[in-house]
Each structure stands twice: as C-alpha cells, then as structure tokens.
C-alpha cells in the first residue's frame, strides 16, 4: 500500500511538473506617457506590472523636471527659478548632481549638467522652427559653468548625501539633467522592482533596464535597436540585469534648410553634436550596454557627442554604433 501511495505521489508531482512546462510564462504590459516626455513600457513576466514602478518613475520625473514646479517639492525647475537664492535640495537630486559632474569631468565635458541656458534655446528653436540667434547662443554658453553650483556639503558624511542647501551662484545658469535623470529614475525603479521580486524589463524612451531574475526558459534579454530610418537595425542580447541606452538624432529634432538639428547639444560648441566615421558618414545613434542604467545613460550621451572607447572600457560597457 505504501508503494501505491508513493506511486500516486509520483503521478501528482509529474502532473504538476508537466503543467508548469506546458504553460509558457505570461507577460503583462503596462504603458505610460507621463514620465520624461517619452514613452514608457514595463513588461512583467508571470505577474501583473506592479504599479509602484510607475509611481517611482513619476516621483523622480517630478524631481528632475525643469519645466514644471510642484507643490512642496524643491526640484530642478525651482532651483533654476530661484535667481541665485539658496533652496534645500533633496538628497537624490544632489546625489545625481555630484555623479553627473564627476562623470562630466571624466568625459571631457560632454554631459554638462549646467547646460540649461543653452538647451532652453534649442528647445524653443525646435518649437518655433527657427535657429537660435548666434550671439544669444554664445552668451548663453558663458553661463554653463558647473563650478558655479554651490552646495552646502557640511552635513554630508563620506557615506551619505543629505538634503542640503543648493544655489546657482550664476543666476543666468540653469540645470539640465537631460543626460542622466532618466537613467537615474529607471535605475531607482529597477531597484524597487528587484525588491518586489519583479521579473521583466523597464523601458523609458531609449533606456532599458532588465531584471537579474529571468523568466523560465530564457537566459538572455533580446533588445531591438531601431534603425534611424525606420524598422529594426539589429537585435542585441543583454545578460540578466544589464541595461542599455540609446542616444540618437532621429526622434527629437527639427529640420531647417535641409539641415537636421537634433536634441543632443555639444556643451563645448553649443550646437547639436556632429560626429562622422572615417568615410564621412554621420553618427545616427549609439547604444551603450552597461551594468547600471545611470552609467548607460551618461555614456550614451557622452559617446554621441564624442566617441571615446577608453571611457566605455572604464565602465565595463560596450556600444553599438550606427553611421549613415
């Protein structure tokens, strides 16, 4: 009788195993349009997309928003509008600010966080479809010194950054976290996702975060890199937990007299960056694959402005380049 019971147990176990095999891990998709002025899609395997992930993205979107102020929040907009006055900045804003500034120094000034005066001119240029006046642009470039950002670090310890007063000592300067805020927010949402046991991907515009946990039967994440001229250029594979970020000239731009003006401004010239390969073909997009999303975001902008393979290597990153 014991053996019969064992046999029954074996049947039950086998049936469970078979059921598990036959049901493919299901995906759930959630799309959002309210963070970082782009399209967000979260794909979750096995269980519905946790709403907390979008909450986290939205929270950080507001913190780094340079166009809108929010009640009871010191954010990029309020710091820029303070006219040099000191404001108490949240720790996360100061953390990314410090990170962005030190990365910028390493990258030779390709991701200047104090470029807001210049990027604002290009934003209104895109809206009005007229080029910024050259002397206005040259003048704006003189207000882009990140050394002029005052932060009271007296309460910081070596291990912790705390909410502290910040002021732009040059009131005509302004902050723009275009090269890093999205990556920072996605990274934070990813950390939260990990703590929730999430399996899947978080994509905000050109920024992709993947979980270390994989769905059953999958060992890598497959990511599509868009062809700047339409369709898919190539698919690449990310190892579990890796992130990818694409910077390109083909989604945010305007054309004037046959010239394309895209949204990534070279901080050294004040104009949209332009790079060509040996045969003179223009760089259309670069996709950086890296272990963390903040570095991927910064590196993608830096590489789009100036290709620097050594810097990629320093971050253990690699890149896919599209010239054309």
């Amino acid at each position: 009788m014991k053996r019969a019971a064992a046999a029954l147990a074996a049947i039950a176990l086998a049936a469970i195993a078979l059921a598990a095999c036959s049901a493919p891990t299901e995906h759930y998709t959630a799309e959002y349009y309210d963070v970082f002025d782009t399209y967000t899609v979260i794909v979750s395997y096995g269980s519905p997309v946790p709403p907390e992930l979008h909450d986290e993205l939205l929270r950080l979107h507001k913190l780094f928003d340079s166009f809108n102020a929010y009640p009871d929040l010191v954010n990029v907009k309020s710091i820029n509008a303070a006219g040099g006055r000191e404001l108490p900045a949240p720790a996360e804003l100061l953390e990314l600010l410090s990170l962005n500034v030190s990365f910028d120094q390493k990258s030779g000034g390709t991701t200047n966080v104090a470029l807001g005066s210049v990027t604002a001119l290009w934003k209104s240029a895109q809206e009005t479809r007229t080029l910024p006046d050259e002397s206005t642009l040259r003048n704006a470039l003189t207000h882009t010194d990140s050394g002029g950002i005052y932060i009271d670090r007296s309460r910081w310890t070596e291990r912790e950054i705390l909410e502290s007063p910040i002021a732009l000592t040059d009131p005509a300067a302004s902050l723009d976290f275009g090269a890093s805020a999205k990556g920072y927010a996605v990274n934070a949402a990813g950390k939260l996702a990990d703590s929730l046991g999430f399996v899947g991907t978080i994509t905000v515009g050109g920024c992709v975060w993947t979980s270390k946990r994989m769905p059953e039967g999958k060992s890598v994440w497959t990511i599509a890199i868009q062809d700047p001229d339409g369709g898919i250029y190539q698919t690449i594979e990310l190892l579990p937990g890796q992130s990818a970020e694409t910077s390109g000239d083909y989604e945010r731009y305007f054309e004037l007299d046959g010239v394309r003006y895209h949204h990534i401004i070279n901080p050294r010239t004040g104009y949209p960056s332009r790079q060509t390969d040996a045969s003179g073909k223009a760089l259309r997009s670069v996709t950086v694959v890296c272990e963390d999303t903040v570095s991927a975001d910064l590196l993608a902008t830096a590489m789009f402005v100036e290709r620097e393979d050594a810097l990629l290597a320093e971050y253990g990153a690699h890149a896919y380049w599209i010239y054309g």
Partner: protein
C-alpha cells in the same frame, strides 16, 4: 508471475502509473506544440494611452482608424501607420513592422502598436517583447 521476476504488486502499480504519466506527458507535449503554433499567430496590438484598443491579426489585410487621429493598416503580414494628425509624423516614418516585439509609437497621440503573439485575451494577459531601445 510477478514474484518470479522479483516484483511486488506495488512495484507493478508504480510502473503502470509511470507508463500512464509518460503517455499523458506525450499527449500533452503534442497538444502544447499545437497550441504554441496556434498562439504563434502574430497580432498588431493597438493601445491608446496604455489601454487596450484593438488586436488585428497580421495574416489578414485590414485598416483601423484610431479615434480619428491615426490610421493603421495591416497588409502583406506587416503593420504600418498609414496616416496621423500628429506634428512630427515619426510614427508614419517608422515604416512597416512585422516581427514579434516590434513597436510603433505615436507619442503625441499616445497610440502604440506592438506586434505580439497572443496566448490569452488581450488586456488580460499578453505576450510582449523584452524591450526596445530607441530615442
């Protein structure tokens, strides 16, 4: 007879049970394979502001007007945005997509089209792609 080959009644039952399991397993494998090929059908899944709007099978030519703002067309196994009233027309320039996971997004109108293989009713549980990196 069982005893002559060293088996008890329980052993025989266990062997019988395993044979049955194997048979069930074989049958299920075939059924799953058939299901997989069925669910391997590609659909253009349309969402508006994140909400499911429609799913069009890619193997049937069709067209869909999305709230009077975008018109998408399925033809020859691919889907494309035929027209849109958005200012940048990036969705129209995106061209034809036909492989699982490919996506067309009209950001101003908050319309997305993604090519997906369906396993369940759309909006309840949907198969989708891993990600797409583009800016």
């Amino acid at each position: 007879m069982l005893k002559r080959i060293g088996l008890t009644r329980g052993d025989a039952l266990a062997i019988l049970a395993l044979l049955i399991v194997a048979a069930i397993g074989y049958a299920m494998t075939i059924a799953t394979a058939r299901h997989a090929s069925d669910s391997g059908r590609l659909y253009a899944v349309v969402r508006v502001d994140g909400e499911f709007y429609a799913a069009l099978p890619l193997n049937e030519d069709s067209a869909l007007d999305v709230n009077g703002h975008n018109v998408l067309r399925v033809s020859g196994g691919a889907v494309f945005m035929e027209s849109a009233d958005c200012p940048d027309k990036l969705c129209v320039r995106r061209g034809r997509v036909s492989s699982d996971g490919q996506r067309i997004v009209c950001l101003p109108n908050r319309v997305s089209i993604s090519v997906e293989t369906q396993t369940r009713l759309p909006g309840v549980s949907e198969r989708a792609f891993d990600g797409a990196s583009a800016k």
